[in-house]
């Protein structure tokens, strides 16, 4: 027999290992330890519509978003029948390209993305290039040049740095009753272009980007041009239409640095519309889709198809039920009929619900016992008798389902989840127990089983427990360690303190 000391070392190291791996997994995958942590998730959809020209290959290039400071891209996908799709980096910008040899008539392409608000991570800020790319697509005429200088001087006087300067500039230009200088500049030109040109002139490092204003349930939206100004290695976003720069709008930068949103060859009348929904998903759902290449995700249950996952969800709960059964039998000393029958009953409860499950169980076993007492007079061999009971149990389940259906309850349906073979054996064992030890023992063992099953059920149905043991399977090492420790517990069981209560007088 292994000594107690090495047993403790073994179990202790198992626990440490379990906790360590779980923590490492947390570090790698960011699956939260508690299931209730929820984050905002936006499902974005860009829809490109265009008219294809006949007999020409079509190539559509759409600017696609990347991770930003506030949002992380967790999932993206393109839905477009017949088109080849690829994503590529061009001049540091992500673009998606659809191509097809031939297309006819109206075409629709979809791009879907899931983004998540994420403040925790330090943004993978792309190396901010502190230089200004001056584009000279706007040339001031004489009057405009003077007006521009005036405005810049005014803004300069009222500001202390690049940020406040930009804010002042926007304030001056977007004022309702704009100044004389402002109206000269805006007379023939686009507001954003003017703003851009003015910032160029003042030498402030900035860029014009296209952003999507996030608002739940919006459809047919288009992108809003915004100004980003570099300050202390950080791009500060300005909404040019918001005079006072109140921080209330929720922008997601779609395409940065003034590149075109869409380029198309072989098609005309291209439009891009955006729609979005906000969801409040548990953070876990996010981590699920976030499959990276770390060793942990390779050995994660999440790699499996959804169907298999739900099976595993149940399987990984079993050890908890087993642990409770071990505890109740070894430490408390509850008598159960069949060592692990309580776990199986608890698994059935998971499908039914506690109260209905118990009711069904008691009714099934009760009727089964009555019918079994008739069977015993038929003088059957054991195997045949058990088989008969199985069929009877199935009939009873079917009958209860029917009654439940007629009465408008779903209760009967759920009975089918009970392990029928287990039920049949339970009935047989209980019936023997009844004959040999009397109804009292049947009651003790039956209620003991139900009690342990209810406890196991309550533990297994607990969201936290299910979440922890499904996402951190290594925690089962702790479960095993606890089972081993309890297996070597030589102290008294709780109910023995009652059984031997007479010794109090000694």
């Amino acid at each position: 027999m292994i000594s107690n000391k090495s047993l403790y070392i073994l179990t202790f190291s198992m626990m440490i290992l379990g906790i360590f791996i779980a923590f490492m997994r947390y570090e790698q995958t960011h699956i939260p330890f508690l299931a209730s942590e929820k984050k905002d998730v936006w499902m974005l959809e860009a829809r490109v519509d265009f008219q294809a020209q006949e007999n020409t290959p079509v190539n559509v290039s759409l600017s696609l978003p990347s991770d930003t400071v506030d949002y992380k891209l967790y999932f993206e996908q393109s839905v477009s029948a017949g088109y080849g799709f690829s994503m590529m980096q061009k001049d540091g910008l992500k673009r998606g390209e659809w191509s097809v040899r031939q297309a006819k008539g109206k075409q629709t392409l979809y791009y879907k993305a899931q983004i998540v608000q994420d403040f925790s991570d330090q943004a993978s800020l792309e190396e901010a290039k502190p230089h200004l790319e001056v584009k000279d697509d706007i040339l001031w005429n004489e009057a405009e040049s003077i007006a521009a200088k005036e405005i810049l001087a005014l803004a300069y006087a009222k500001s202390s740095d690049d940020i406040s300067f930009t804010r002042e500039l926007i304030k001056i230009l977007s004022a309702k009753h704009t100044s004389k200088e402002g109206s000269i500049l805006l007379a023939k030109r686009n507001y954003i272009d003017v703003l851009n040109k003015l910032l160029d002139d003042s030498g402030i490092v900035h860029k014009v980007s296209l952003a999507l204003e996030l608002e739940d349930g919006r459809r047919k939206q288009s992108l809003t041009p915004v100004i980003e100004v570099l300050s202390k290695n950080e791009w500060i976003l300005f909404d040019p239409n918001n005079r006072l720069q109140e921080e209330n709008k929720n922008f997601f930068l779609w395409t940065r640095g003034g590149k075109s949103l869409i380029e198309i060859t072989g098609g005309t009348n291209a439009t891009v519309h955006f729609s979005m929904i906000k969801q409040n998903m548990p953070a876990l759902e996010l981590a699920k889709t976030h499959v990276d290449d770390s060793g942990f995700s390779l050995f994660s249950v999440h790699r499996l198809p959804i169907e298999e996952q739900s099976l595993f969800k149940l399987l990984l709960l079993l050890p908890i039920g087993a642990l409770i059964t071990v505890f109740m039998r070894l430490i408390i000393g509850v008598k159960t009929s069949g060592t692990f029958m309580p776990v199986l009953i608890a698994m059935a409860f998971l499908q039914t619900s506690l109260f209905l499950g118990m009711l069904n169980f008691v009714v099934l076993v009760g009727i089964g016992l009555i019918l079994r007492s008739y069977l015993s007079s038929l003088n059957l061999l054991l195997v045949a008798r058990i088989a008969t009971i199985i069929v009877i149990v199935i009939f009873m389940v079917a009958f209860m389902t029917l009654i439940g259906y007629e009465l408008g309850f779903n209760t009967g349906m759920s009975v089918a989840f009970f392990p029928i073979i287990i039920l049949a054996w339970t009935i047989e064992r209980m019936s023997i127990l009844w004959e040999e030890e009397g109804p009292q023992e049947v009651l003790i063992q039956g209620s003991g089983s139900l009690f342990v099953a209810a406890l196991a059920y309550l533990a297994m149905v607990n969201g936290y427990v299910a979440h922890l043991f499904f996402n951190f399977p290594e925690l089962h090492l702790i479960v095993i360690a606890l089972m081993i420790l309890m297996g070597r517990y030589t102290g008294y069981r709780l109910l023995e303190l009652r059984r031997f209560r007479e010794f109090k007088s000694i």
Partner: protein, 317 residues
């Protein structure tokens, strides 16, 4: 809390708990490969015969289902007998027939059953209904023990048996089990039989319990229990002690019956004897077991072991 005892005072009383029994005694001193010897009553019986240990006489064995139909013929000349599953546990599946009434049989309880009921019972045994593992089993039929007249006043129907715990060959504690009306003639304490603690040195009754409560008289016969003295106590101790050499099990329960004519006989051996013997004796097993553990290194024969127990102060009532 009322109705409970603290673990500390239980420890002080030296009570052996279930977990401790399983880990520190059964799994440490009982080699698993020896279990079939005691779990199978047929094997135990054959082994006992080999070692010259007295057991109830084996009449015949029913091994196969087709033998069941020969039962009528085989039982023709036998009026009282007991049918047991070879691998039954806790007295399960034992059918005791004490007399015949024409073609019918009279059970120990007085109920009259037919041959068909007996064949069904045997069929159940063969199918493994009463066996520990649910495997196929054999039924053994042995002569019925005629209880020693000593117990006439103390037993309701069934035959009283004496359970002696033998640890490493040393008999450490004993109790007499008396069947009652409530226990339906069975001698299991949890079924309502009376447990009478027997002084391991003298064979005198110490204390008696029924359903966990102390009692002074037998509930059915109303005779005072503390008057019981078992004659030839040393013979019983020697018999129990010698079962250690026979079975090699370090922690053993020996069930002995006293037959009117044939004297003490080993009924069966138990590799997992229960704990209620402590309640019947109102005494914990642990101090005695620990004492034996200290001295058991020296090999002694069964006579020396019995002498040791009879002279050691720790084993006093």
């Amino acid at each position: 809390m009322r109705g409970f005892i603290t673990p500390f005072s239980l420890k002080k009383s030296g009570i052996l708990g279930m977990n401790s029994r399983n880990i520190e005694f059964i799994s440490r001193y009982n080699d698993r490969k020896l279990y079939p010897l005691v779990d199978n009553k047929l094997q135990t019986k054959l082994l006992a015969q080999e070692h010259g240990i007295n057991t109830p006489e084996l009449l015949f064995v029913v091994r196969y289902q087709h033998d069941v139909y020969k039962l009528k013929e085989k039982l023709q000349n036998i009026s009282s007998f007991a049918i047991k599953p070879a691998c039954g546990s806790g007295g399960k599946g034992i059918l005791v027939i004490r007399a015949k009434e024409g073609d019918n049989f009279v059970k120990a309880s007085g109920a009259v059953i037919k041959l068909e009921d007996i064949t069904r019972h045997v069929t159940n045994i063969l199918a493994g209904l009463h066996s520990l593992s649910g495997d196929q089993d054999v039924a053994i039929v042995e002569t019925l023990i005629e209880a020693d007249s000593l117990f006439d006043e103390y037993s309701y129907q069934g035959v009283p048996d004496i359970r002696i715990i033998v640890f490493q060959g040393y008999p450490v504690m004993a109790m007499l089990r008396l069947s009652t009306k409530e226990s339906d003639g069975k001698a299991n304490l949890h079924q309502g039989a009376v447990g009478v603690g027997i002084d391991i040195k003298t064979g005198k009754a110490i204390h008696a319990v029924m359903q966990g409560e102390k009692i002074l008289t037998h509930p059915d016969t109303k005779h005072t229990l503390d008057a019981i003295v078992i004659e030839n106590w040393e013979e019983l101790l020697l018999l129990a002690s010698s079962c250690y050499e026979m079975s090699n099990l370090g922690y053993l329960g020996v069930d002995i019956v006293l037959d009117k004519n044939k004297g003490a006989m080993v009924l069966e051996l138990n590799a997992r004897p229960g704990l209620s013997i402590q309640v019947a004796n109102s005494k914990g097993l642990l101090p005695r077991l620990r004492e034996i553990e200290k001295i058991s290194k020296k090999r002694k024969n069964f006579r020396e072991r019995v002498d040791f127990v009879r002279n050691e102060a720790l084993f006093s009532r």
